[in-house]
C-alpha cells in the first residue's frame, strides 16, 4: 500500500510544483480557488429563499430527477464500456506488480475521492441558485455536497458490478440496457401523463418524483433523500438513504474484492475508454466523443481550398447527428433551455423569449467553450491547405455558426410557439444566439493565440468561460437599459445582437494570426 500511496503523494506534490513554476498558471489556479471560495462563502452565508420559497416537494422532485438522469447515464455507459477509477498507467504498472488486488482497489478508491472534487465543484455552483429559490435548512449546503460525494463514490462501484455480470455475454448486456431503458421510459410516461393531468411542469415534478416508490427506490431515491434533507431536515427518509448508500458502497467494495478478485479485465476496457475520453477532451471533441457515426449520409464534400474545410465539417456533423445537424449538444441546449423557462417564475411577463435566450447562451457557453477548433488544430491538414489565414479561420468556424443557426431556429421557433412570441422577437433571438456562439468561438481561438497550449485544459476552459462572460456582459447590461427605457424586448435583443456582432468581428480580426503563430500539437 505504501507504494501506491507514493503515487498519490508524488502526483499531488508535482502538480503543486508545476503550478509554482508557471506564474500564468499560478494566477489561473488562484483565480479558480478564489472563485470556489467565493461560491462556498456565498452558498453558506446567503439567506435562503430570496426570490421565492419553493415547496420541499418541488426541491425533492428536482433532486430525484437530477440523480435519476445522472445514474441512468453513467451506469448505462458503465454497462457498455465498463466503469473504472483506473488510468492505463495503473493498469500497466500496478496490475502487473506484486500487490494484492484489494489494495489496488483501495488505492483507486482514495483517488476517486479526489475525483469527487469536480462533482463537489459542480454542485457548489448550483447551490446559490437553489438557495435563492428554496428556504433551505442551515446545514442544507452540507447535505447537497454529501449527496454529490455519495453519487461520485457509488456510480463506479455499481457500474463495475453490473459490467462484470454483463460482460460475460452480449445477451446480458442487451438485457440490462433494455431494463434500464424500460425503467427510464416508464418514468417518462408517468411524468408526461401527470403533466397532461396537472398542466403544470412544476406540479408534476413535485408529485411524480416525490412518490414513495421513487423516494425509497434504491440508490436514486437514497441519494436524493440525502440531498432533500437540505429542505426536509433529518427525516426517516434521510436516515434510510444515508444507511442505504453507506451499506451499498461498503457492500459493493467488499463484494468486488472478495467475490471477484479478478476484476482487472472488467476495468481494462473502462480504462482504455477513459484514456480515449481524456484525449477527446484535450482535442476539444468531448461532446462528439463516443457518438455513433453513420457510414453514409446525404451530404457530399464540396468546394475547394478553405471552403472544403467547411463542407468536411458539415459531413462530420451529419454523420453524428440524429437529424440534419441536430446532435447531442443541440438536444442538451434545447431541452435545458425550455425546462428552465418552465421552472423559472415569470411574474413580469415582459421577457418571453429573452429568458430562454440567456439560458441557452449560458448552455452554449458550457458546450462551446470546450473548444471545437482544438480538434482541427490537432491535425496537420488545416496548416497545409493553400489558402489565406482569414479564409481558413472563417471556413473552419463557419460550420459552427451554421449549426448554431440550426439549433437556434429549432429552439426559438418551438419556444416562440409555446410562449406565443412575435415573429420579429423569434428572429432576433435566433440571430443573437448565433452571434453569442460566434463570440465564444472566436474568443476561444484568441485565447489559444494568447496562451498557446497551456498546462491544464480545465484551467483554460475556466479562464475562457470567465473571459467570455465578461465580454458578453456589457451587451446584456446595455440591453437591460434599453429594455428599461423602451420596454421593448425586440430592441433589447437588437442591442445585444449588435454588441455581440461587433465583438465577434473584433475577435475574428485578432484571431486570424492563429495559423501563423500557433504550432500543431502533434
Amino acid at each position: 500500500m505504501k507504494a501506491l500511496m507514493f503515487i498519490i503523494r508524488r502526483t499531488f506534490k508535482n502538480l503543486f510544483k508545476g503550478v509554482l513554476k508557471k506564474p500564468s498558471l499560478l494566477i489561473g489556479y488562484i483565480f479558480i480557488i478564489l472563485f470556489i471560495a467565493l461560491m462556498l462563502v456565498a452558498s453558506f452565508a446567503m439567506p435562503a429563499g430570496l426570490i421565492r420559497s419553493g415547496s420541499p416537494e418541488f426541491f425533492t422532485g428536482i433532486m430525484s430527477l437530477v440523480f435519476m438522469f445522472m445514474y441512468y447515464t453513467y451506469i448505462k455507459l458503465g454497462i457498455e464500456k465498463g466503469s473504472t477509477y483506473f488510468r492505463m498507467a495503473d493498469v500497466n504498472f500496478t496490475f502487473t506488480a506484486p500487490i494484492m488486488p484489494n489494495k489496488i482497489l483501495l488505492y483507486a478508491f482514495i483517488k476517486q475521492i479526489g475525483g469527487t472534487i469536480l462533482f463537489l465543484f459542480i454542485a457548489t455552483c448550483q447551490i446559490p441558485n437553489l438557495k435563492n429559490n428554496f428556504a433551505m435548512q442551515s446545514y442544507g449546503v452540507w447535505m447537497i455536497l454529501l449527496s454529490a460525494v455519495m453519487f461520485a463514490l457509488s456510480y463506479p462501484l455499481i457500474s463495475m458490478i453490473f459490467y462484470s455480470w454483463a460482460s460475460k455475454s452480449s445477451e446480458r448486456k442487451k438485457l440490462l440496457k433494455r431494463l434500464f431503458d424500460v425503467l427510464a421510459l416508464a418514468v417518462v410516461i408517468v411524468f408526461i401523463t401527470s403533466i397532461a393531468k396537472t398542466r403544470s411542469f412544476v406540479d408534476s415534478l413535485s408529485s411524480v418524483f416525490t412518490h414513495p416508490v421513487i423516494r425509497y427506490f434504491p440508490v436514486i431515491g437514497w441519494t436524493s433523500s440525502i440531498a432533500s434533507a437540505a429542505m426536509n431536515g433529518f427525516t426517516l427518509e434521510f436516515w434510510i438513504g444515508l444507511s442505504g448508500m453507506g451499506l451499498l458502497i461498503i457492500g459493493t467494495s467488499i463484494a468486488l474484492y472478495r467475490m471477484n478478485l479478478d476484476y482487472y479485465e472488467d476495468v481494462l476496457e473502462g480504462a482504455e475508454y477513459f484514456e480515449a475520453a481524456i484525449k477527446a477532451k484535450r482535442e476539444g471533441n468531448n461532446l462528439r466523443f463516443n457518438l455513433k457515426v453513420k457510414n453514409k449520409v446525404k451530404q457530399n464534400l464540396s468546394g475547394t481550398g478553405a471552403v472544403s474545410i467547411f463542407f468536411r465539417y458539415l459531413l462530420e456533423l451529419r454523420k453524428t447527428a440524429f437529424f440534419l445537424f441536430l446532435d447531442r449538444s443541440s438536444v442538451m441546449v434545447i431541452i435545458a433551455a425550455i425546462i428552465f423557462k418552465f421552472i423559472m417564475p415569470d411574474e413580469s411577463n415582459v421577457l418571453t423569449l429573452a429568458t430562454i435566450l440567456f439560458f441557452a447562451a449560458y448552455m452554449l457557453l458550457l458546450t462551446q467553450m470546450q473548444g471545437g477548433i482544438g480538434k482541427e488544430l490537432e491535425k496537420h491538414y488545416i496548416f497545409l491547405i493553400p489558402a489565406s489565414y482569414a479564409q481558413k479561420l472563417f471556413f473552419a468556424t463557419l460550420g459552427e455558426h451554421v449549426k448554431n443557426l440550426f439549433d437556434g431556429f429549432i429552439l426559438f421557433v418551438l419556444s416562440g410557439i409555446l410562449v406565443k412570441a412575435k415573429v420579429e422577437t423569434v428572429i432576433s433571438c435566433i440571430i443573437a444566439y448565433v452571434l453569442f456562439g460566434a463570440v465564444y468561438t472566436y474568443g476561444d481561438i484568441l485565447a489559444r493565440r494568447i496562451f498557446g497550449r497551456i498546462h491544464s485544459k480545465n484551467v483554460m476552459i475556466f479562464v475562457k468561460a470567465i473571459a467570455n462572460l465578461l465580454m458578453v456582459a456589457p451587451g446584456i447590461i446595455g440591453g437591460v437599459f434599453v429594455l428599461t427605457f423602451t420596454e421593448s424586448e425586440f430592441l433589447m435583443l437588437c442591442f445585444i445582437g449588435a454588441w455581440s456582432f461587433v465583438l465577434a468581428v473584433t475577435l475574428f480580426v485578432f484571431s486570424t494570426g492563429i495559423f501563423k503563430n500557433l504550432e500543431t500539437v502533434n
Binding site: T11, N14, F93, F95, A97, E265
Partner: protein
C-alpha cells in the same frame, strides 16, 4: 519458466485465442509473431494477468496471477502509459517500492543511461515523447531484474540507438537466464535474436520451432510465416 497450457480467450462470441499451448524456458528468447488480429496481444495480456481466460498459465511454476509470479516477471505493454505527473525517476522509485527492491538506484541509473534518459530524470510523464515513454516503460520492467519478461511490440516509437540497445538487452537477459517473450509483427526486428518462434494466426499457434531446427531444415522464418498466414488470402472469394 513460462508455461501456457490450453489457453483460450473469448470476447463475447469471438474466440480471440483458441487452445494455445507453449513454453518459453529460462535463457530462451521466444518470439510470438503473427499478422494483425492473430491474438498475440490477447495472449500477452492473459499472461500479464490482465484478462480472465480458460486454461493454465504458470511463471516459475506459480500461477501467473499470484503475487509470487508477479514478483519475477516484467511486462512492457504495446502502448506505454505513464503517470502524467510523476517524473521519470519517480516511476522507477514507485516500481522499486511496489516490488520491494533494495539497492535499485545504481541499476536505475545504468538503465536510464543506456536509453539516453539520464538527463530526463526530472521530466514528468506528460512532458515525454511517445518514444521516451516507451523507454521509461522498458526501464521500469527491467529494474526488477526479472526472471521472465514480456515485450508487446517493443520497437514501436524507439529511435535507432534505443532499438540497438534493446536488442543487446534481449541477449543479455538471455545470457542471465531470463526467459524472454517478444510479441511482434515486424519480423526484421527480431531476425537475429530469437531462439524459439511461435507463429499465431486466427487465435491459434500454427507453428512452433527452434532456430536450430529451422536452420537445419533450410527454411527461413519469413517464408514459413507467409506460407502459413497467407493461405486464406490466396483462396478465391
Amino acid at each position: 519458466m513460462l508455461k501456457v497450457k490450453n489457453l483460450s480467450k473469448k470476447y463475447e462470441k469471438v474466440l480471440a485465442v483458441n487452445n494455445v499451448s507453449f513454453e518459453v524456458n529460462s535463457g530462451e528468447i521466444g518470439v510470438l509473431i503473427g499478422p494483425n488480429g492473430a491474438g498475440k496481444s490477447t495472449t500477452i495480456k492473459s499472461i500479464a494477468g490482465l484478462l480472465r481466460f480458460d486454461g493454465e498459465i504458470t511463471i516459475d511454476g506459480k500461477p501467473n496471477k499470484s503475487i509470487e509470479a508477479k514478483r519475477v516477471f516484467g511486462y512492457i505493454p504495446e502502448t506505454a502509459a505513464l503517470y502524467e505527473s510523476l517524473t521519470v525517476w519517480e516511476h522507477l522509485e514507485f516500481i522499486a517500492r511496489a516490488y520491494g527492491l533494495k539497492d535499485w538506484k545504481d541499476t536505475a541509473e545504468v538503465l536510464l543511461k543506456r536509453f539516453d534518459m539520464d538527463d530526463k530524470k526530472d521530466k514528468i510523464g506528460k512532458e515525454l515523447s511517445k518514444g521516451m515513454q516507451q523507454k521509461v516503460s522498458i526501464c521500469c520492467a527491467l529494474l526488477i531484474n526479472p526472471r521472465m519478461v514480456m515485450f508487446d511490440e517493443p520497437m514501436i516509437g524507439l529511435d535507432p540507438k534505443a532499438i540497438k540497445e534493446l536488442k543487446e538487452i534481449f541477449v543479455e537477459l538471455k545470457s542471465a537466464g531470463c526467459a524472454v517473450l517478444i510479441s511482434t509483427h515486424i519480423l526484421d526486428s527480431i531476425a537475429e535474436i530469437w531462439d524459439k518462434a511461435l507463429i499465431m494466426n486466427k487465435g491459434e499457434i500454427v507453428y512452433v520451432n527452434t532456430r536450430d531446427a529451422m536452420l537445419a531444415s533450410g527454411e527461413s522464418l519469413e517464408h514459413i510465416f507467409f506460407s502459413l498466414t497467407d493461405k486464406e488470402e490466396e483462396k478465391p472469394a
